[in-house]
Structures are given as structure tokens and as C-alpha cells.
């Protein structure tokens, strides 16, 4: 989707947000009709990936797999819902789970954490079935915060330098050292955590620790904590597709490690327009003669959303400070 369309939709969304008081005033939204086929996610992707022939990526001059280029992916927007669900409303069509393991597509919360997650879900006040009627929390993503690397940060370009992998987007970046340096003390917590990368065969492995546990994976309160470790695996499975896998570990809130998988597609080599749902079918690159098409332009999300900040605050939502499981 072109930046201008996204900007227009963002502006329109902000207006609609104020009108209908729905949370999540962010870019990349579409309005989905009720008969939208269920969007494919992890199950479909894992099945397709299993049929792909082995692929050996080309190497950079430094001899590591070359992941560089412009990418677009199934990464969520602010209305993303992580687990499988049927059609809910125009922002949220039926969709498979992002979770590939366990096979049931559900995050394996401990009983305490599941109760907490359901409490948040019931208090979203999005007009969804099963809500309690309370306004509890709105997605931290509504405030344009760059939180957990999954979903909230969309790597639109990958650049590799000796000792670093750099991921760029139109409003933030990640710089991931791959030189073996130790992470910062676990007493130091960050919205994006502290990332350390290494190469294993054809895969970039990124360990993220030092998370502050205040972000969500999606817009419906799927949380992690400040004890969570995420291990990302970025692997080219053909010239134009990266398999993104993240293993999430946290014995304080999950009964076991769990995984999400989705593909990222080299920009301009697949269907465009749909911000969600995996897109693995190879099609001819869309012709785009706009010389600025590949430039990343300022979005100023926070600066442009002060009205929604005021609205969310005035509606009485609480600020999500993270979860503290009982000892």
C-alpha cells in the first residue's frame, strides 16, 4: 500500500475513531466485508513452507546470509488479533492464529495469566461480544509506542553491516549487534528490549531480553512480561520470502515456550493492498513509476494522534503497567 494511501486512511481513521470511539487509531487498516474468507496465518504458512524446496540464500561480502532489501509482511496493525477467530466487525475479519506452536494456536498461559488476559479482553470496550461493559485498557499501540519487536515494529528494510543488522521503518529502527557482545544487565528494561543477534546456518537468530513488559503482542491484550525472552529466527525460504519465527519464553506467565510464524515478502513482489493475511503467491511485481515509492517518509504517529490520546484518557481507560504474577 502506498504511503499516501496509508496516510489518507490514517487521517480517516482518526476521524472515525473520534466518531465511533473504537480503539486503535493507526495506519494500515482496511474495512473488511463480512464474507471475507478467513485470512491465512500460521497454519496455512507452515503447510506451504513445508512444501518449499531447500533454499540457500546468497551471502553478503562478509559471508553471512543476505537478508537486505525492502520487506512487507503479515505483521499486525493496531487492530491485529493474535489468536484464531471468526468475523467480529469491519476492522476484524475471520483469521487464523499467528501461533504455530502449540498447534491449537492458543498462547499457553498459566491459569493466573489466562484469567488476567480474559479480564483485559472483557474490558476493551470495542463493542465486541462478551465484554463486561467496563473500559479497562486500550492497546498501548494506540499511543504510537514502539514496543515488543513483534507487530509493533515493522521491519520495512533490512540493512547489514559488519557486526550489525539494522532494521528500518518509517518511524523507528532496530540496531542488532551480531558481534557477540553481551546484553545489558537484566535490571535495565526497555520497550523494545535489548537485542543480540547471531548467525546459525542460513538463519539470523535474535535474542531479545530486557523487555519492560508494558506492550502487547496485538490489540486485544495478549501480553508478555518483564521476564519474557523472545528468540526470533529470520530465514530466507526463497529469494523473496523470509520466514519470521519467534519463540516466546516466560515461565512466570506461560506453561511452556510457544511460537509464532509468518512470512515477510520482498516489497513489490507480491499482492499488495491487504495489510494482513499472509501473501505467498508469486505474482509479477506491480509497476510503480513513482520515483519516491521506495522512500520511507515521516509518519509522526504520536505527534499526529494527540486527539486520540485525549479521547482515550477522557474515556477512563487505565494505563497498562504490565502484569505481576503472584509468587
Amino acid at each position: 500500500m502506498s504511503r499516501r494511501v496509508v496516510a489518507a486512511i490514517t487521517a480517516l481513521t482518526v476521524v472515525l475513531w473520534v466518531l465511533v470511539l473504537a480503539p486503535g487509531p493507526a495506519a494500515g487498516q482496511a474495512f473488511w466485508p463480512k464474507d471475507t474468507p478467513k485470512l491465512p496465518m500460521a497454519t496455512t504458512w507452515i503447510a506451504r513452507k513445508a512444501k518449499l524446496p531447500p533454499y540457500t540464500p546468497r551471502r553478503t561480502p562478509d559471508g553471512v546470509p543476505d537478508l537486505q532489501g525492502d520487506w512487507s509482511g503479515a505483521g499486525g496493525d493496531n487492530n491485529s488479533v493474535l489468536e484464531e477467530h471468526e468475523y467480529i466487525d469491519v476492522t476484524t475479519p475471520a483469521q487464523e492464529s499467528f501461533v504455530s506452536d502449540p498447534r491449537d494456536g492458543k498462547i499457553p498461559y498459566t491459569p493466573w495469566a489466562l484469567a488476567k488476559r480474559n479480564e483485559i479482553l472483557a474490558g476493551l470496550a470495542r463493542g465486541w461480544p462478551g465484554e463486561s461493559g467496563d473500559r479497562l485498557y486500550t492497546s498501548p499501540g494506540s499511543f504510537c509506542l514502539t514496543a515488543a519487536p513483534v507487530f509493533s515494529f515493522d521491519a520495512q528494510e533490512i540493512v547489514q553491516k559488519p557486526g550489525y543488522v539494522i532494521m528500518l521503518s518509517d518511524d523507528a529502527y532496530r540496531v542488532i549487534p551480531t558481534d557477540g557482545r553481551p546484553p545489558i544487565s537484566q535490571n535495565a528494561k526497555f520497550w523494545l528490549g535489548n537485542a543480540r543477534g547471531r548467525w546459525e546456518g542460513n538463519t539470523l537468530v535474535v535474542e531479545v531480553t530486557g523487555l519492560n513488559g508494558k506492550g502487547w503482542f496485538d490489540s486485544t491484550g495478549q501480553f508478555y512480561s518483564e521476564n519474557t525472552r523472545m528468540v526470533e529466527r529470520w530465514t530466507l525460504v526463497d529469494a523473496n520470502t523470509i520466514d519470521y519465527e519467534v519463540t516466546v519464553e516466560d515461565p512466570t506467565i506461560y506453561t511452556r515456550p510457544w511460537k509464532m510464524n509468518f512470512p515477510k515478502r520482498r516489497a513489490g513482489t507480491g499482492p499488495s493492498g491487504a495489510p494482513r493475511g499472509i501473501s505467498v503467491a508469486s505474482t509479477l511485481p506491480p509497476v510503480n513509476n513513482d520515483p519516491y515509492a521506495n522512500e520511507l517518509w515521516e509518519t509522526a504517529c504520536y505527534e499526529g494522534n494527540t486527539e486520540s490520546l485525549r479521547s482515550i484518557h477522557s474515556l477512563g481507560y487505565k494505563w497498562f503497567t504490565g502484569v505481576t504474577p503472584p509468587k
Binding site: F143, D170, K214, Y292, R310
Partner: protein
């Protein structure tokens, strides 16, 4: 002839004065012969983690200390910013009300050149088609395109403007336009309009230093173009890296339950 000791002191002082750079002029000089290494694309390699080490973030002009504000020499060549009379009055009003009017107090993107001399490091990443400036402050990014595209046609009002770069010898020259009128140059209320035109020059003067020179043009606010200059320093710590300063998150969290907060008021 015997020289008077007094004359000797005078000559000595004169010599010291001659060797001392003028106030506001960075000590690293653009004329220092230094040839930086090259990137694979053949351009001067200025990649790495850099930071200003001065008090321009508080006030780009000469200033004394106050609580939380270190005293410092200005970085404005010639000493004072050449404001038009009405603009000077506005600057003084900004200064008086800086605690609430400074856009930094709302954690907004701080504009250019202010983001360069915030008290946070930034990292430069070079590619063939652009130079990326990654700022620790607010995870902010600025892409300086060198892909042959001119500035896009306006009107556009961006917080960090639209940056187009080119190499002149060893100097990265960046032309920046399409600003809004909401950012300041410092915490002292020095300001500009949406007609701001910034020309930055980054010149490596040693493996660990760059001279950063900025020309400011804004005919709505100033009587003439004016310049800032300062050295930038490569961070020397082993394993130095950018962390994060997610200003808006800290601010919203602090103010959310503050009944007296003005953050959620219209302004």
C-alpha cells in the same frame, strides 16, 4: 635594545589570543587535512555512533547556568541569532513560558538541527541511496536520500523536514526543507517558521571527530541567514550502542493518573 618585561607580557597575551579560536567556532576545523576511509560505494565513511558534547540543547546562544542548566558558550557564529524585532519578542515570550511551550516537553520530534545536539547519541548508517540517521531520542529516524530525487513537491510540513544529501569532497551536505513551525532550536525558546531551510555540513576531521556546521535560513523570522557550528564526537566506549529514550511513553505513563496534568488538554 632591552625589551621591557611588560611588553613581553603584552606580546605573549597577543600570541595566546591569536591561537585561541573565536567563541562559537568549533575547534576542529574544516581545513584540517584528514582523509576519511571510504565505504564500498566510494564515499567518505562517517558511520558509527556520534554525539555532541556541549550545551546547545539548553541554549544555542551564550548563557549562564540555572537549576538543571549548565552554563555554556553559544554555537551561533557571530554570537547572536539575527531575529527580526517581532520575532525577538516572540523568542523572549517562548523563553518565559518554556516549561510548557517547549515542544520537547511534550516529547514531540525535536526538528533539525536540534535533534543532532540533544544529549543523546545517534548512529549513522550509509547505503548507496541514502544516509540514515538513527537517534536514540524517541527511536527517531531521519533518512537523507541521495537517490537523485529532488525534494518532493510541497506543501509538506514534517517535524524533521525532508532531507536530500550530496557529497562535496569529504563533506556530507544535507539540504532540509518542508518543516512545520512547531519545533524549536533549543530549550530557550529559539524558534523558526515553516519557511525554515536548513543546510547541514558534516565534515570528518579525524577518525573520531566531525565538524557539524548548519546554515539556517528563514526570511519570516530572521534578518539574514546565520550559522551554527560544533564538533561531533565518536563515542569511544567499547561496545557502545544506542539504547532507547521513549520520551512519549515515560511522559504519558507519568501523567496518566495526574489530575493536574495539562497533557490531555487541548492547546
Amino acid at each position: 635594545m632591552k625589551t621591557s618585561p611588560f611588553l613581553g607580557i603584552v606580546f605573549g597575551l597577543a600570541a595566546i589570543c591569536t591561537l585561541t579560536p573565536a567563541p562559537g567556532v568549533a575547534q576542529t576545523s574544516a581545513t584540517t587535512p584528514y582523509t576519511p576511509p571510504r565505504t564500498r560505494d566510494g564515499h567518505p565513511d562517517v558511520q558509527g555512533i556520534w554525539q555532541a558534547l556541549n550545551t546547545a540543547a539548553w541554549d544555542v546562544e551564550d548563557h549562564h547556568a540555572s537549576l538543571g542548566v549548565p552554563a555554556g558558550r553559544g554555537v551561533v557564529e557571530g554570537g547572536a541569532i539575527p531575529y527580526q524585532p517581532s520575532a525577538l519578542a516572540k523568542k523572549q515570550e517562548n523563553f518565559a513560558k518554556r516549561a510548557t511551550l517547549d515542544p520537547e516537553s511534550r516529547c514531540y520530534l525535536p526538528g533539525v538541527p536540534r535533534i543532532t545536539y540533544m544529549p543523546h547519541p545517534f548512529q549513522i548508517v550509509q547505503q548507496a541511496d541514502k544516509v540514515s540517521m538513527l537517534y536514540e531520542y524517541q527511536h527517531a529516524v531521519r533518512y537523507i536520500y541521495m537517490n537523485g530525487n529532488p525534494h518532493p513537491r510541497g506543501p509538506i510540513e514534517w517535524w524533521l523536514g525532508d532531507s536530500r544529501g550530496r557529497w562535496e569532497g569529504n563533506t556530507l551536505v544535507v539540504d532540509v526543507i518542508h518543516f512545520n513551525d512547531l519545533t524549536w532550536f533549543d530549550r530557550a525558546g529559539n524558534f523558526h517558521s515553516d519557511a525554515l531551510h536548513v543546510i547541514e555540513r558534516y565534515t570528518p576531521t579525524s577518525p573520531d571527530h566531525m565538524l557539524y556546521e548548519v546554515t539556517i535560513e528563514d526570511p519570516k523570522v530572521f534578518t539574514r541567514p546565520w550559522k551554527m557550528s560544533m564538533p561531533l564526537y565518536r563515542r569511544q566506549e567499547r561496545n557502545s550502542e544506542l539504547f532507547e529514550y521513549q520520551c512519549n511513553a515515560y511522559l504519558i505513563e507519568q501523567e496518566w493518573n495526574n489530575p493536574a496534568s495539562t497533557l490531555f488538554e487541548k492547546r
